[in-house]
């Protein structure tokens, strides 16, 4: 009886301690930039988003980004309206896109030492309510205790049921777009 009490106290203490340290190692982004870039012979289209929130768990190598889709700002208002519309990204129904990734080769990053580390990230990307697996390279830069992350994702729109079947957008928007990710923690 006494033994179980002590054991449970130790267990509770251990769990609370580990969960505390786990939360202490989770960094929240201070600045982010997501850039959407599409290139076709007809035209280049770019949109920028500065309102994404991300976390980086340096002990588990977990990377999460929550992207508010209506924050993508285009040069032309009509493009922005197309992007948001039901036919394309349906941002009213799916206001956020999400990237959940894990650094596969976490052991080669030393978060305590200045340097630039190239890592493999694998995970899931959810856009327009559709989830697909992603595997991309990312660069983690450690500079005097500050951590930054850079990556580039190639997103095939059809995989996310974003289909530009007819009209001008089908000719002017690339089938695969480049999404550049930049985050400071």
């Amino acid at each position: 009886m006494k033994k179980t009490t002590i054991l449970s106290i130790v267990a509770v203490a251990f769990i609370s301690l580990t969960s505390f340290t786990a939360s202490a190692q989770k960094l929240v982004s201070s600045k982010t930039h997501f850039k959407f870039f599409s290139s076709t012979p007809a035209e280049d289209i770019e949109a920028n988003n500065y309102k994404t929130v991300g976390t980086l768990d340096t002990s588990a190598g977990a990377i999460v980004f929550s992207v508010p889709m209506q924050s993508f700002e285009f040069e032309k208002a009509l493009m922005q309206e197309h992007f948001n519309s039901k036919k394309f990204l349906n941002t009213k129904a799916n206001p956020k896109a999400k990237l959940i990734g894990k650094i596969v080769d976490l052991s080669q990053v030393d978060f305590g030492k200045n340097g630039s580390y190239t890592v493999d990230v694998s995970g899931d990307l959810t856009i327009n309510g559709v989830t697909n697996a992603v595997n991309e390279k990312a660069t983690i830069v450690v500079q005097d205790g500050k951590i930054a992350l850079n990556s580039k994702l190639n997103v095939t729109l059809a995989d996310y049921e974003v289909a530009f079947k007819k009209g001008k957008p089908s000719k002017n928007i690339a089938k695969t777009v480049e999404v550049t990710v930049e985050a400071n923690y």
Partner: protein, 160 residues
């Protein structure tokens, strides 16, 4: 004969004029300038806590109410206490309006035109900003934290 010519001339002018107008409209549509949020009528005025709690209570209903299908979402005036002042990668000022007891706040991003208006703002100030809503507040399980209501194209309405 002369009247026939006259009719033909008028018809050509009308058709020509119509084509010109049509081309003009299409050209305008394709090159429509970005939405001028500050010169758009305010749809709703709230305290930061009110909109945060509305979203935390029922995000779906709130999204239906505030978000627009084409991204031209509601223009809001939000009053609250400045909890944090920062700057994003685009050198735009960001003010977080959040009261100490709330789980989330309202993150308001300014523009290159309105950035300078924040120069006198201090943490703890009670201010009112106007801007367009981009997304609501919610608890995100993957992030393990609450996300703020996002407002962009902000300007300061009053700073007491």
């Amino acid at each position: 004969m002369a009247t026939k010519k006259k009719i033909l001339k008028i018809a050509l002018i009308v058709i020509g004029g119509g084509i010109l107008i049509a081309v003009g409209i299409v050209f305008y549509m394709l090159n429509k300038p970005a939405r001028d949020v500050q010169n758009t009528k305010t749809d709703y005025s709230y305290e930061a806590s009110q909109i945060v709690n509305e979203y935390l209570t029922d995000a779906q209903t709130a999204n239906d109410k505030y978000l627009d299908e084409a991204g031209n979402s509601k223009v809001l005036e939000i009053s609250g206490i400045v909890a944090k002042i920062s700057e994003d990668f685009n050198n735009q000022k960001v003010l977080l309006l959040k009261s100490v007891n709330d789980k989330a706040g309202v993150s308001c991003t300014f523009t290159s035109e309105t950035n300078s208006k924040t120069s006198t703002v201090k943490v703890g100030d009670q201010i009112t900003i106007k801007g367009v809503i981009r997304s609501g507040a919610s608890y995100d399980e993957d992030l393990g934290m609450y996300e703020n209501v996002i407002i962009e194209k902000s300007d300061i309405v009053s700073n007491k």
